[in-house]
């Protein structure tokens, strides 16, 4: 008799356990999906620089380049300028940035000539035009204009960029900790975009910077 009756209405312990297991599994999957969505939302955020809007006009300044000639910011009117501050005795951050400038220039392709690349030394004591010339040549980045000036000149011009630097004694020498941002200046000598180091890889992302510049050209 009982065999004829369908057992579907009966709640056997086996069914209860199966139901519980399925419930827990569904909850787990829901949590996993939520977690993955959150993760993809995090990684979907792409850093494309800090846009200065309206563009900030820059006060002109004049320094000396690696061949000993006087160079002013206004000499670059009509061109875009990508600029960073550093010092020649810097073995890590500055060569990394210079290497990325090389890759940005390559990524710019036919537009490369519309952009000037600048390096301004924060080490007025050690960085002569000759030091900077050698430094840029050894790094294979002769296309970069390397500028140097007196401490007073440098201190005055960095204010408008919000750049900071401090000398840190190291043995009988010193190193310099400094703002590692790259600054994009438009053809009217106005500050347009700030590129911070990518916090993930602690360097600039050349493809991103080149893409951003091309959008603005």
């Amino acid at each position: 008799m009982s065999a004829e009756k369908p057992s579907e209405t009966r709640l056997t312990p086996g069914l209860v356990v199966a139901g519980l297991v399925m419930g827990i599994a569904a909850f787990g999957i829901a949590l996993l999906v939520m977690y993955q969505n959150r993760q993809s939302a995090d990684t979907a955020w792409e850093y494309r620089g800090t846009l200065i809007d309206p563009p900030q006009p820059l006060t002109d300044f004049s320094l000396v380049n690696q061949t000993g000639e006087a160079v002013s910011l206004s000499d670059f009117k009509g061109k875009w300028v990508l600029l960073f501050f550093g010092f020649a005795s810097c073995p890590d951050i500055c060569p990394t940035t210079l290497g990325e400038y090389k890759r940005i220039r390559e990524a710019l392709g036919v537009d490369a000539d519309k952009v000037a690349f600048l390096f301004i030394s924060l080490d007025s004591t050690r960085d002569t035009p000759q030091t900077i010339e050698t430094y840029l040549r050894v790094r294979g980045t002769e296309f970069v204009t390397g500028l140097t000036g007196s401490e007073t000149q440098i201190s005055a011009l960095i204010k408008q960029f919000g750049v900071q630097f401090h000398r840190i004694p190291q043995g009988d020498s010193y190193t310099i900790e400094h703002t590692s941002t790259s600054f994009l200046i438009d053809p009217e000598n106005r500050l347009r975009v700030l590129f911070s180091f990518d916090p993930e890889v602690f360097s600039l992302n050349p493809a991103m910077v080149a893409g951003r510049i091309r959008e603005l050209l």
């Binding site: 890590d92 951050i93 000759q130 430094y135 840190i168 900790e177 400094h178 180091f197």
Partner: protein, 146 residues
């Protein structure tokens, strides 16, 4: 008698297992080009990967090479947009771990290179660890990370 010997063997085996041994290996050692002299071009950094296969932590104490007047253990640290280099006394490599020295992080700064280091060339760097282990590493000069 036999039993006693067996105990001895077991003890020895246990002792061998328990003794912390440091087994360090180094890979992918590279540095950017530099030029002999005194200016900024005579400064460069060595990047490499240290693997500790042993059961005990070890520390890199120092490094030296005849290719530079001095080698210093450094770390680049950033706080906000400001980055700088800081000297380190030692570099810890935990047991069964890998420590990667790369741009923007740990590096061995070469000061005053004694000869021009050009792309494709190599030089020998000797690393000294707390465990007493000493390792000769071939550093390749190249512009970018391998």
């Amino acid at each position: 008698m036999k039993f006693k010997r067996l105990i001895w063997v077991i003890c020895l085996l246990l002792a061998a297992c328990a003794t912390p041994k440091s087994e360090i290996s180094v890979q992918n050692a590279w540095a950017r080009p530099a030029q002999a002299g005194s200016g900024g071009a005579s400064v460069t950094a060595v990047y490499l990967t240290i693997e500790n296969h042993g059961d005990a932590a070890d520390q890199l104490l120092s490094a030296r090479t005849d290719a530079a007047a001095g080698v210093e253990l450094h770390e680049t640290r950033a706080s906000g947009d400001i980055a700088g280099m800081h000297g380190l006394h030692t570099l810890e490599v935990p047991a069964r771990s890998r420590l990667i020295l790369r741009p923007g992080g740990y590096h061995l700064m070469l000061e005053g290179v004694t000869r021009d280091l050009q792309e494709g060339q190599t030089f020998t760097l000797t690393l000294k660890f707390t465990s007493g282990q000493q390792l000769d590493v071939q550093v390749t000069i190249q512009e970018n990370a391998p």
